[in-house]
Amino acid sequence: MRFTLEVWTQASRDEEGHFERYDVDGIDPDASFLEMLDELNARLAAEGKRTIAFDSDCREGICGMCSLTIDGQPHGPNQVTTCQTFMRDFEDGATIRVEPFRSGAFPVVRDLVTDRSALDRIVQAGGYVTTKTGPKPDPNAAPVPPAVQQKVMDAAACIGCGACVAACPNGAAMLFTGAKVTHFNLLPQGQPERASRARSLVLAMDAEGFGGCTNYGECARVCPQEIPLDVIGMLNREYRRGARREDDTVGTRT
């Protein structure tokens, strides 16, 4: 197969970027999108030209590192990670535009690589269980019903890739944050901080410059882990629940 690629090129965070055009041919339809870029890089290198920087590790959809916007869609045309996107999903001869995940909260490091640490700072605000040392209670003393288990599992499947943010016209991180809150607030272990967790996380989300949610639902449509939109409902409910128990330590949303 052959393709024309328009690839975002940016030397560093502080420099301006632009699209660079490349023609590639002889691509195996079963090559993944990243293998196609490897091939392009190998050819560029052989010609002594600058190669394109992009992130990946596991290449099987679990580590959350790969992060390309392909023809305007985070991770490309199918609801899978970039590394699980194959060239057979594109038309022969197509022109494909390749960009990093776009969001004000994700500055570009170089070319197609972004800094997604803003997501960590949301979690840092309370996306965890606080524990005491000493013997732990028998987990079977507090059975988790299958329906709850399923919801928690669906939320805990988040790989933190940030596609939800890149897809959202507002650049919101509601799906990500909702998944964290759903995971912990439904578990018996997460109850002690239940009241404050949603509020702390939402405040951090705002502070990082993520946008607000206006129910586009694009986030759930691109999420490779198929995290359901319900987690945003859960986040909003838990946020209000926390508001009712507002205490000064948490602060108010501005």
């Binding site: 030397a11 560093s12 890089n41 190998a42 560029l44 290198a45 002594g48 600058r50 190669t51 920087a53 990946s56 590790d57 596991c58 290449r59 099987e60 959809g61 679990i62 580590c63 959350g64 590192m65 899978v80 699980q84 194959f86 490091v109 170089r110 070319d111 800094d115 997604r116 640490s117 960590d120 979690v123 840092q124 996306g127 965890y128 269980v129 524990t131 040392t133 013997p135 732990k136 209670p137 987990p139 079977n140 059975p143 988790v144 019903p145 299958p146 288990q149 928690v152 599992m153 805990a156 499947a157 988040c158 790989i159 933190g160 964290k180 995971h183 912990f184 578990l187 272990q189 997460g190």
Partner: protein
């Protein structure tokens, strides 16, 4: 210059667990990782983690299974520690929010795994590693005031001063800046070296950096000949199909449709230890009973598992089958073969994670305690990372409390900076490309240092590795910049891979017997009289590997013939 009581290199499960333990013990801690912590390769762990939690189970049974799995090369004192502490560790994980699978009554569920005498594997569908890694990272963030994180920092060397480890030199991947980190205790938690092989189930970052760093600093490597081939990796690209599939009841079939494991391991069949199953598969393939392209594969038939159960408990591999092999695993068998998966060997440590080099610790896949000996049981690695990660963190913190911060000079930084300059200055087009050398290394190792080995093949491999080492010296890199230069790091990683590969081949040549993952067709028997001992590899002054031996610790279980 940053200075910490405890400096941890690596932020997979072992590194993060060590960081939390050290911080909780009151130490100042830094974690340095070449990739963002949750992208560490622990994230890919699928099937689960072993612990004798069931009421009818006993940690001694877990320990015996582990000793037997190791083909009696594992050190039994370390195995006892790991298995006895396992239940509390798994309950701790559950307590901080890991959603281990529960049955219809809401109780913890345990699945069957290879080499285990009872269902003992706690799991989160087939994303156990991801589930644990994310929850631990959330804890790491929680202790953000006590744990400094250096994410996307690449360690280029250990600093040895006065006979002890005093810190490291590292490069900021994003900016290219170099820095010296001083520390009272350094813990290596850099993961495995699977990229020595091609194909492998390991990610691109598993390049044996930690083993090479320790080796170059003078610490011994141990059991390096013991390389695990996992019985079920996709024929197409080497991706892992978790042992959980066989734990759920899937069968292995040859071209005659025969469930051949009945011949090799009459009682455990598909759930014999991995070395046994991989050898059986390879024998079937070599004797012409393979399936798929060129008869190089074996059928893994998951259709015998109820479809609902597959969709619930094996959801990740349903996707892998669909995306990468075009197969709906709930309806037809998938073609697999043995593939490189894990390195049992690593930097030699004691049960506190201490290496023989003062101030240097190691934990996780980079280390060799040795709890896995000749062959690791499935779902014992995650356990190993957590138990010995925690123990190393605690011990390193305690040691730091009684020592002064070493005074570290910046000279090693300049050495490494010059080394990198020299790589960047290599003339383009003069030598071979890094990727070519890596490719030749991987295919050579996979050909000669695989399931079946012999002297001739191993000698060939050693010659190739040594030639590649020379070629690597002049391999040019394409990118000469500073910002996010992946090429220059690739060149450094290649050097690490070559050191690890050399140690593996030299050890495999030395062990003139068959035990665990090492099967020598020229020495097909296990020989306890001569070889019930570990092989260690230390770097000599002139850079050559020096062979040594270490005794195997036996506490309760005398070696016996293995039957499954």
């Amino acid at each position: 210059m940053p200075a910490h009581d405890v400096l941890i290199i690596g932020a997979g499960l072992a590194g993060q667990r060590a960081a939390l333990a050290a911080a909780q013990a009151g130490a100042t801690v830094a974690v340095l990782s070449k990739v963002h912590p949750v992208r560490s390769h622990s994230v890919a762990a699928a099937g689960g983690i072993n612990a004798a939690i069931a009421v009818e189970d006993d940690w001694r049974s877990h320990a015996y299974d582990t000793v037997k799995g190791s083909d009696f090369l594992g050190d039994q004192d370390a195995i006892e520690v790991m298995c006895a502490e396992a239940p509390a560790e798994v309950l701790h994980l559950e307590h901080i929010g890991v959603t281990f699978h529960r049955d219809e009554t809401g109780r913890l569920d345990l699945r069957a795994f290879g080499g285990a005498s009872i269902n003992r594997t706690a799991y989160v569908a087939d994303i156990t590693g991801q589930a644990i890694l994310h929850v631990l990272y959330e804890q790491l963030l929680r202790f953000g005031d006590r744990i400094d994180r250096y994410e996307e920092w690449f360690t280029t060397s250990l600093i040895v001063d006065d006979g002890g480890c005093a810190g490291v030199v590292a490069r900021d991947v994003r900016s290219g800046a170099m820095e010296v980190f001083a520390a009272k205790s350094v813990i290596l938690a850099c993961g495995g070296a699977g990229q020595c092989f091609k194909p492998t189930t390991n990610g691109l970052i598993c390049t044996g950096d930690g083993m090479a760093l320790a080796y170059r600093a003078g610490a011994p490597l141990m059991d390096m000949e013991m390389v695990q081939y996992h019985p079920t990796t996709l024929v197409e690209n080497g991706f892992l199909i978790t042992e959980g599939a066989r734990g759920e009841g899937a069968h292995l079939l040859n071209a005659d449709g025969e469930r051949f494991m009945e011949r090799y391991a009459p009682s455990k069949r598909e759930l014999a230890s991995r070395d046994v199953v991989s050898r059986a598969e390879q024998t079937e393939i070599d004797e012409g009973r393979g399936v798929g392209p060129d008869g190089r594969g074996i059928y893994l038939d998951i259709t015998v598992v109820p479809r609902r159960r597959t969709l619930e408990a094996l959801r990740e591999i349903v996707n892998i089958g669909r995306d990468f092999a075009g197969v709906d695993i709930t309806r037809e068998p998938i073609v697999i073969r043995p593939g490189q998966h894990y390195v049992m060997g690593g930097v030699r440590t004691d049960v506190h994670g201490r290496t023989p080099l003062d101030g240097l610790y190691a934990a996780g896949e980079v280390a060799c305690v040795s709890v896995h000996g000749g062959n690791r049981l499935g779902a014992n690695s995650l356990l190993d990372t957590l138990i010995f990660g925690r123990r190393a963190g605690e011990h390193a913190a305690a040691r730091a409390a009684g020592t002064r911060m070493p005074r570290v000079s910046r000279a090693p930084l300049h050495d490494d900076a010059r080394r990198i300059e020299a790589i960047l200055a290599r003339p383009a087009g003069a030598g071979r490309r890094v990727s070519e050398i890596k490719e030749e290394l991987g295919t050579t190792m996979n050909r000669h240092v695989a399931v079946f080995r012999d002297e001739g093949g191993l000698r060939t491999a050693l010659d190739v590795v040594r030639r590649l080492r020379e070629e690597a010296e002049s391999a040019a890199v394409d990118d000469r910049g500073t910002v996010f230069n992946q090429d220059v790091l690739g060149a450094i990683e290649l050097g690490c891979l070559l050191d690890c590969a050399e140690a593996m081949v030299v050890s495999a040549l030395e062990r003139r017997e068959s035990r665990g993952a090492q099967f020598r067709t020229d020495f097909p028997r296990r020989d306890d009289a001569e070889w019930l001992k570990h092989i260690t590899i230390t770097r000599d002054g002139d850079g050559a590997p020096r062979i040594g031996y270490a005794p195997v610790t036996i506490t309760r279980w005398e070696p016996e013939e293995r039957r499954y």
